[in-house]
C-alpha cells in the first residue's frame, strides 16, 4: 500500500540567494536590476556582462499568476524556473550563468506562452546545464503502456487470489500460506498505480494501523497474512479471501476507466521505494509471514517498469541515470541473498546487523539517485 498523498502541486524550486549579479535590466516596473513581466512583455531587453553566479530579481507586473522559465532559446532547455509566481510579487532566480544564449519564457494563466528576446552572455565559461522539459505529450505513451502493464498484472492477480480463496475454502491452510505470497507480490509490483487504484487499495492492501487487527473492516492481503500466521482458522479467513477476489475483480473491471495522472509516473519512481524503506525494510508491514524483503524486491520490479517506460526521456536529461541502476542492482542482489533454499525469506528482524545495514544503505542510496527523476519527468507546458 502506498502512503503517499497525491503530489500535484510543485513547490517553489528556486532558492533565494544574496544578489551577486552584475546585472543590468530594463523593461519597466520595479527597482533597478529588476526584470519585469506583463501580458505584453516577457522580460523585455536585458544584458549580462559576464558569466558567473547571478540572482535575477523578477517582478510580475501582470494581473495573473504564472511561471517564468529561463531557457536556452535554441533547445528550449530550462536553466531555472520560478513557479507559482503571484501577480504583483517579486521573486528571485539564482543560478550559475555560463556563456551562451538565454531568454525568459512566460507561461501566464489564460495567456499564450511568450518568449522574450534572446540574450548572449559572452565568453567560454561553463554554467548550469539546461534541462529540456518533458511535455505532457511525451508522457502519454508511457502512461498508456503503464495502463497495459497494470492490467496484465491485475489479470494475473485475479487467478492468484482465486487460488488462495480456494485453498481456504478447502481448509488447506498450508497451501494458503504458500499461495498468499505470490499473489501479494504481484500486487506489490503495481506500485505506480496505487493512487489511481483509489479506495480499492485500502480494501486490497490496507494496513491495520488505525483500525486495529481485530476490526472486521480491516481486509485484504495484510489481514489474510495476519490470520494465516497467527493461528486463525480457514473458516474465519475464507470470507476475507472471497472479498479479496471480489475486490481485485472489481478493480480489474474498473481499471480501463481509471486514469494515471501523468505527473505520477515520475513521482512514483522514488515513492515506491520510499514506501518500501518506511514500511517493508523496517518490518512495519510484516504481519507474520516475514516476507517484507520479497515485497521490496517486488517494489523494485515496479520501479524498474517505470524507469523503462521513462528511459527514452531520461537518458538525454539525467546524467545520474547509470547510478540509479547501479544501486537498484546492488539492492536487488543483497535482497536476493536473503532468499532461503527452501523458498522462504529472512524476516528483517532476523537479518544480521551487517546485512541489514547493507540493504538499508543500498536502498537509501538508490532513493537518493532516483529523487531527481520526479523533477525531470514532471510534465511542463511549453
Amino acid at each position: 500500500m502506498l502512503a503517499m498523498a497525491m503530489r500535484k502541486t510543485r513547490p517553489l524550486t528556486i532558492a533565494m540567494l544574496a544578489a551577486m549579479a552584475s546585472l543590468t535590466a530594463c523593461g519597466g516596473g520595479g527597482a533597478s536590476n529588476t526584470i519585469s513581466f506583463n501580458s505584453a512583455s516577457c522580460g523585455g531587453t536585458w544584458t549580462l556582462a559576464k558569466p558567473g553566479w547571478h540572482t535575477f530579481e523578477l517582478y510580475n507586473a501582470n494581473d495573473v499568476g504564472g511561471e517564468i522559465d529561463l531557457i536556452d532559446p535554441r533547445t528550449s532547455g530550462v536553466y531555472a524556473e520560478v513557479a507559482q509566481f503571484g501577480p504583483g510579487t517579486t521573486q528571485t532566480m539564482s543560478l550559475n550563468v555560463g556563456s551562451g544564449r538565454y531568454a525568459f519564457r512566460c507561461l501566464f494563466e489564460d495567456t499564450d506562452p511568450m518568449t522574450g528576446p534572446a540574450v548572449t552572455v559572452p565568453g567560454h565559461v561553463k554554467g548550469f546545464t539546461a534541462t529540456v522539459p518533458v511535455t505532457n505529450n511525451e508522457l502519454v505513451g508511457p502512461a498508456k503502456e503503464y495502463q497495459v502493464y497494470a492490467a496484465a498484472g491485475l489479470k494475473t492477480l485475479v487467478g492468484q487470489t482465486e487460488t488462495l480463496a480456494s485453498d481456504l475454502q478447502r481448509g488447506n491452510l498450508t497451501a494458503a500460506r504458500r499461495d498468499w505470497l505470490p499473489a501479494h507480490l504481484t500486487y506489490e509490483t503495481l506500485g505506480a498505480a496505487y493512487d489511481a487504484f483509489g479506495n480499492f487499495d485500502d480494501e486490497i492492501d490496507g494496513r491495520a494501523d488505525a483500525l486495529g487487527v481485530s476490526n472486521p473492516q480491516w481486509t485484504g492481503f495484510y489481514r489474510l497474512e495476519y490470520g494465516l500466521w497467527h493461528g486463525q482458522s480457514a473458516a474465519e479467513l475464507t470470507p476475507y479471501a472471497s472479498k479479496l477476489v471480489a475486490d481485485v475483480r472489481s478493480l480489474l473491471a474498473t481499471w480501463p476507466t481509471m486514469e494515471i495522472p501523468l505527473i505520477d509516473i515520475g513521482l512514483r519512481t522514488h515513492e515506491i521505494l520510499e514506501n518500501a524503506l518506511e514500511f517493508q525494510l523496517t518490518g512495519h508491514d510484516d504481519y507474520g509471514s516475514g516476507t517484507t524483503l520479497a515485497t521490496t524486491l517486488a517494489n523494485i520490479q515496479g520501479t524498474r517498469e517505470l524507469l523503462s517506460l521513462l528511459h527514452p526521456l531520461l537518458v538525454t536529461r539525467y546524467p545520474g541515470l547509470p547510478g540509479v541502476y547501479t544501486w537498484l542492482n546492488r539492492l536487488q542482489t543483497l535482497l536476493e541473498a536473503e532468499h532461503q533454499p527452501g523458498g522462504t525469506w529472512v524476516p528483517v528482524s532476523q537479518l544480521s546487523a551487517s546485512a541489514r545495514q547493507g540493504i538499508d544503505a543500498a536502498c537509501s542510496q538508490a532513493l537518493q539517485e532516483l529523487a531527481p527523476i520526479a523533477s525531470i519527468a514532471e510534465p511542463r507546458n511549453t
Binding site: 524550486t13 528556486i14 532558492a15 533565494m16 540567494l17 544574496a18 522559465d69 530550462v78 536553466y79 531555472a80 524556473e81 539564482s94 543560478l95 550559475n96 548550469f128 546545464t129 534541462t131 522539459p133 536529461r317 539525467y318 544501486w327 546492488r330 546487523a353 551487517s354 545495514q357 547493507g358 538499508d360 544503505a361 543500498a362 537509501s364 542510496q365 532513493l367 537518493q368 529523487a371 531527481p372 520526479a374 523533477s375 525531470i376 514532471e378 511542463r380
Partner: protein, 436 residues
C-alpha cells in the same frame, strides 16, 4: 552480576545474591573509608586534571566564554583536527557509523566525501539553488545561507574498520582496540563500537542537525548510522565558573595545558608500534554514561561532595579556596579532607607517577527521555582525547573501579576510536595517509 558483586557500594549490595548482609551498606562504606571525615570534601569534577594553581596557563577545552551561540567559523584545515582542543560548543551529536562501501575505492570515496562536506559545512556558504533537475541540494534547515556557527567535525576510525573488508589489517593503529568493559559497565552492543565516529559540535542544535543530515545525505550508500546520541554543554552557572553536569557538579574543571599536548594528546611521529599514518591523530574515547539522577538527588550533599571531592556549590576542591586550585593530597594522606576514594582523587592522584595518564576531557550532558520505571534518562557523553588509551584513559578508569560514585552511574555504550590526523589543505582529505 558477577563482577558487580565484587564492588563495594550500594549497587553491588543491592545486586548481591547470597551474602548481601555481609556487605557494608553505602553509608558505612563511605564513612569507613573516609575515616570519619570531619571537615571537608575535596576537589574535582571527574577524570580530568591540570595543575592550574601555580601558574594559570589556560587548560585545553576549558574556556567557556564563547558559548553565546553565534560562533565564527573554526578553520577546518590544519595539522590536527580542529574540534579537539577548543572549548566545547553548546551542542553536540556523537554518531557511530558502520561502513557499507563494498570496496576500498568505495571507502576512499566515502572519506573524500566526508572531507568535502565537512570543509563546506564548517566554512559555511550558500548552497547551489535547485534547478528543474532535482530536489534542492540543501535541507534549508539553516536558511538559504549555511552559517558556520563554530561547527567542528571530529572524525575517527574504530578497530573494526581494520578487519578484512578493505585491506587495512596491516594498518591498525597500535593502541586501538575494541572498548574494554570495566567492572561497573553494562555495555549495550547496539550502542557500542562502530567502524567510524563523527562528533559534530556547534553553537546551536539546528547547526549540528543540519550538518548531520547533510553528511548522511551525501554518504547514504557508503555508511549507515550505528548509534547516535545528542548532547549539550550548559552555561557556566554562576557565570565565570565551569559548566555543570547533571549531577549538579562542575565538570571538566581541570584539563592539561596545551603545552602538554605533545606528551599527552597527539600521536607523535615515529612512535614505537604506531603506523606512520597515525601521526598527529589522537585516540578518542567515548563513554555513554547514564546517571541515576533521581537516586543521586536523594543523597545528601555532604555525601555527594565526598564522592566527588569538590564543593557542589563552588566547585572548589574541599581543601582549597578557589575553583582552579590543585588539591594537595600529599597533605591529606588519610583522606581526612578529601576521601581517598573520592572521584577526583582516584582519577588524578596528582603524583609524578600518574602525570602521564592525564587526558583531555570534553564531556557533554545528554538528556533523552525516560526509562522503564519513568526515571529520566540523563547522563554524560564522556569523551576524552589522548595519545595512548591504555596508558591514559584505561589507567584512569582502572583507578576508578569501585569508586563510591559507581552506584549512581552506569556506562552503557561508546567506543574507542582514533581521531584521524587533520586535513591540511584543500587538496588533502581525511585518512589520505591511511588509504594511499
Amino acid at each position: 552480576m558477577g563482577d558487580a558483586d565484587k564492588l563495594p557500594g550500594r549497587r553491588s549490595f543491592l545486586r548481591g545474591t547470597g551474602d548481601a548482609d555481609k556487605l557494608p551498606g553505602r553509608r558505612s562504606f563511605l564513612r569507613g573509608v573516609a575515616g570519619g571525615v570531619a571537615g571537608g570534601v575535596v576537589a574535582g569534577g571527574a577524570a580530568g586534571y591540570a595543575v592550574r594553581a601555580a601558574q594559570p596557563e589556560p587548560a585545553m577545552a576549558a574556556d567557556t566564554a564563547s558559548l553565546d551561540g553565534r560562533l565564527a567559523a573554526v578553520p577546518f584545515h590544519g595539522r590536527y583536527q580542529a574540534g579537539i582542543v577548543p572549548p566545547s560548543q553548546r551542542q553536540t551529536a556523537v554518531i557511530s557509523f558502520d561502513v557499507t562501501a563494498d570496496s576500498t575505492s568505495g571507502l576512499t570515496d566515502l572519506f573524500q566525501t566526508i572531507t568535502s562536506r565537512a570543509r563546506f559545512l564548517t566554512a559555511g556558504g550558500t548552497p547551489p539553488p535547485a534547478g528543474i533537475d532535482g530536489p534542492p541540494s540543501d535541507s534549508g534547515v539553516l536558511g538559504p545561507t549555511v552559517v558556520p556557527d563554530g561547527l567542528t567535525v571530529t572524525f575517527g576510525v574504530g578497530s573494526t574498520l581494520f578487519d578484512d573488508r578493505y585491506g587495512l589489517a596491516g594498518k591498525l593503529p597500535g593502541r586501538l582496540t575494541p572498548m574494554q568493559p570495566f567492572p561497573n559497565d553494562d555495555l549495550d552492543p547496539a550502542q557500542t563500537g562502530g567502524d567510524l565516529i563523527l562528533q559534530l559540535s556547534a553553537g546551536n542544535a539546528d547547526t549540528v542537525l543540519h550538518a548531520l543530515r547533510d553528511i548522511a545525505k551525501h554518504t547514504r550508500g557508503g555508511m549507515q548510522i550505528n548509534w547516535r546520541i545528542d548532547g549539550f554543554t550548559s552555561p557556566a552557572r554562576p557565570s565565570g565558573t565551569v559548566p555543570r553536569n547533571l549531577m549538579g557538579f562542575m565538570d571538566g574543571i581541570a584539563n592539561p595545558p596545551l603545552s602538554k599536548a605533545k606528551e599527552l594528546l597527539w600521536v607523535q611521529p615515529g612512535t614505537a608500534g604506531e603506523p606512520d599514518w597515525t601521526a598527529d591523530g589522537s585516540y578518542f574515547v567515548v563513554r555513554l554514561i547514564r546517571m541515576f539522577v533521581e537516586f543521586w538527588d536523594r543523597v545528601d550533599v555532604y555525601e555527594q561532595q565526598q564522592m566527588i571531592g569538590r564543593d557542589r556549590a563552588t566547585g572548589f576542591p574541599m581543601d582549597a579556596k578557589s575553583l582552579f586550585a590543585a588539591p594537595d593530597f600529599g597533605a591529606d594522606p588519610t583522606g581526612a579532607v578529601i576521601p581517598v576514594n573520592a572521584h577526583i582523587r582516584l582519577a588524578n592522584p596528582r603524583t609524578p607517577q600518574t602525570a602521564s595518564s592525564r587526558i583531555l576531557r570534553r564531556a557533554y550532558n545528554y538528556d533523552r527521555g525516560i526509562d522503564q520505571v519513568g526515571d529520566l534518562d540523563q547522563g554524560l557523553i564522556f569523551t576524552c582525547f589522548q595519545q595512548d588509551v591504555k596508558r591514559q584513559f584505561e589507567a584512569v578508569q582502572t583507578r576508578l573501579i569501585g569508586e563510591p560514585l559507581v552506584d549512581y552511574i552506569s556506562p552503557f555504550g561508546g567506543g574507542y576510536f582514533l581521531a584521524l590526523p587533520g586535513v591540511r589543505d584543500a587538496a588533502d582529505w581525511y585518512g589520505r595517509a591511511l588509504l594511499t
